[in-house]
């Protein structure tokens, strides 16, 4: 490590990343000057990189990325699953799902890039995060993930000022004003309500004044004020979980639907996708649609009311998250017999309870690691790097062995996903922020 605080590993990364999208050759001296490297160190590294094939010489002493750099393109999007095929012993499916999806089910915003050159400034930066609430374990895990992202980008981000609106629209409006007055370079926001026009108008006003805004998890209906929206596919969560439940029940049965917080974009989109999917199964009868505030108590109370109203448990409970699924299941376990099939993960406790009681279930954990991903996107925006209008953190389909249906297969068994050493309210999808053995910084 030298006086500039950079290691040679960092300098190598910076040299390789200094080439443009079409690998236009550069003069060695220009590379070294643009990166503000010490001349002797810079030339030493450039020569070593050229010797080993990371760079190659072109005409007139210029350099470009070489064959070794091309090998960096080889990028698995998932970690290697060592002998996963044997451990999971999947059956080969003989056909693709006959269930129709709209095109690829792919939002065009995922491949539409936003020009961020207008936001490029020299760091370190100060960010604001207007958070809707920290009222459940998932939201607290997402905040932990943002802190993790901040630690990763510690040399670029000076501060993230966070506010908590406690699910109150008026409070969030005031907090957004307060954050905007504190000379922040970028606003991260997770909105209390997708339908509240005052919040949408406030974001539009700030965007018009030149403040870049990134939404996390909950966005306004009109995306035009956003540079980017960092999320996971709520559509996919609703669609896959409803499809699994309908198929698991053989296309017939009574279903209760328990959504999260009324008026929030994830709850609306998951519910919309699920209702649309259930409508393809005429034998599925939706007896009730309730909101639970994404809390265990909300799920427990909703099921308690429905049991009283209907007199008997349903054949399946569709929950858009295990945050309320845990409460629903707890109430149904107080009855005699095997509880009905459930959907919804997120919480370690949901997996523990289902596995302990052999409850058929499927879950697509909504990744709390989107917090750290949003911080990465913020760094890109303030560096002037184009970013996608929508950034999706990948989802995995999780279920206990023996629960697969014709169309819905496991990416990972619940038995392997659950963490028996962690508490019920641990959110398993928060990435490195959760890991006690994670690298300290």
């Amino acid at each position: 490590m030298s006086k500039d605080g950079q290691s040679n590993i960092q300098r190598i990364g910076a040299i390789l990343n200094s080439f443009d999208d079409v690998n236009t050759p550069q003069d060695s001296a220009d590379i070294i000057r643009n990166l503000d490297l010490n001349r002797s160190t810079g030339f030493g590294l450039v020569r070593a990189l050229t010797r080993s094939g990371w760079l190659e010489r072109v005409d007139h002493g210029t350099l470009r990325l070489g064959q070794k750099a091309a090998e960096l393109a080889f990028t698995p999007l998932e970690a290697p699953s060592v002998d996963a095929a044997r451990r999971l012993s999947f059956k080969q499916s003989t056909r693709l799902s006959s269930h129709t999806q709209p095109e690829l089910g792919l939002d065009p915003a995922l491949t539409r890039l936003v020009d961020t050159s207008a936001y490029e400034t020299k760091g370190p930066w100060r960010l604001g995060f207007a958070n809707a609430s920290t009222s459940n374990a998932w939201r607290r895990a997402m905040v932990s993930s943002i802190h993790y992202g901040q630690r990763v980008a510690k040399n670029k981000i000076d501060q993230i000022i966070m506010t908590n609106a406690k699910d109150d629209t008026d409070l969030q409006l005031a907090q957004i004003d307060e954050l905007a007055s504190q000379d922040i370079h970028l606003l991260l926001v997770s909105l209390v309500s997708v339908v509240d026009k005052r919040l949408s108008d406030k974001l539009a006003q700030l965007a018009a004044s030149g403040l870049p805004i990134i939404a996390i998890d909950r966005r306004p209906e009109d995306r035009n004020s956003l540079v980017s929206f960092v999320t996971a596919s709520d559509y996919r969560i609703g669609y896959v979980s409803a499809l699994w439940l309908a198929e698991y029940l053989g296309g017939h049965g009574r279903v209760w639907m328990l959504s999260g917080v009324d008026g929030t974009s994830p709850a609306l989109r998951r519910q919309h996708a699920a209702l649309s999917t259930f409508s393809d199964f005429p034998g599925i009868r939706i007896e009730a649609v309730s909101h639970t505030d994404w809390t265990q108590d909300g799920g427990y109370q909703a099921v308690d009311r429905l049991l009283e109203a209907t007199g008997s448990p349903p054949d399946g409970v569709w929950c858009d998250s295990g945050l309320q699924g845990l409460g629903s299941l707890s109430r149904l376990l107080e009855l005699q017999g095997l509880p009905p099939a459930h959907t919804g993960g997120d919480l370690n406790g949901m997996y523990r309870l289902c596995l302990d009681n052999k409850v058929p279930m499927v879950a697509l954990d909504y990744p709390a690691s989107m917090g750290a991903r949003a911080v990465q996107v913020a760094v890109d925006v303030l560096s002037g790097t184009p970013v996608p209008q929508r950034v999706e953190v990948p989802l995995t389909t999780i279920m206990p062995r023996g629960c697969e249906t014709t169309s819905v297969k496991a990416d990972i068994w619940a038995e392997m996903h659950v963490d028996w050493n962690r508490s019920d309210d641990a959110v398993l999808s928060q990435g490195a922020a959760l890991s006690q053995s994670g690298f300290r910084r």
């Binding site: 590993i9 590294l45 020569r47 960096l72 990028t75 998932e78 995306r223």
Partner: protein, 222 residues
């Protein structure tokens, strides 16, 4: 004898290669895989993650990062595609359950870029480089089946893949593709999906200013 800078390059290679070969989530695992001291691993993985050369998944396991992927594509002139390829590949994998990949074809060699492993073809390991027979010129909306030969395989066996073109520059062609299961079932559905995904990538175009996207008039499912 290797000088300081050569050693730094060797360390960089070890650090960037390690997540391809094993699931690494702790300093001890990383140190064992790379042969580097634990303290160096902690310092270097931290800075490589900050630069986007390494990333971590939902379980905290290390992966090659978006910046590494982008440098790889830049070297072949396809840097502009780096942000749009991963989401399309993930969606292709979700829908088909087959391994999806981005590839660069030059001189009868297929260099594999990003890929997402599907359960139907999970048994087929993915190599970084394959020999192929001549790739026919692909017209718009066309996907073709080709055989891959793994030059490092003892018996020369490879896989069957379905590919469609994204763009071409001189002798270099960018494609996306799907590994095919041995049964070869569902080919027409896969062709349709692949062509649809390619259209999505091609439509990505130039970056737009904020607020240029059209407003949706009805409920926006995304």
């Amino acid at each position: 004898m290797a000088d300081t800078y050569d050693r730094a390059v060797q360390q960089f290679e070890a650090l960037i290669e390690a997540p391809l070969h094993a699931r690494l989530a702790t300093p001890a695992e990383y140190a064992k895989e790379t042969g580097l001291p634990r303290s160096s691993v902690i310092r270097h993985t931290s800075s490589l993650e900050e630069m986007g050369l390494l990333d971590r998944d939902e379980k905290g396991t290390f992966l090659r990062g978006a910046t590494a992927h982008k440098i790889g594509l830049k070297s072949q002139g396809w840097g502009a595609l780096s942000a749009v390829i991963p989401p399309v590949l993930r969606q292709l994998r979700h829908r088909s359950q087959n391994t999806s990949f981005f590839g660069m074809v030059a001189q009868r060699m297929l260099h594999i870029g990003a890929f997402s492993t599907g359960r139907e073809t999970r048994g087929n390991s993915v190599a970084s480089l394959y020999q192929i027979d001549r790739l026919p010129k692909l017209s718009v909306g066309e996907a073709v089946q080709i055989a891959l030969i793994d030059p490092n395989s003892d018996d020369g066996r490879g896989s069957q893949v379905l590919v469609t073109g994204l763009a071409s520059e001189e002798q270099n062609q960018a494609v996306i593709g799907l590994m095919l299961p041995a049964s070869g079932s569902g080919l027409s559905g896969l062709q349709e999906m692949l062509v649809s995904a390619a259209e999505m990538v091609k439509a990505s175009g130039q970056p737009e200013k904020v607020g240029q996207s059209s407003k949706s008039s009805s409920f926006d499912p995304f």
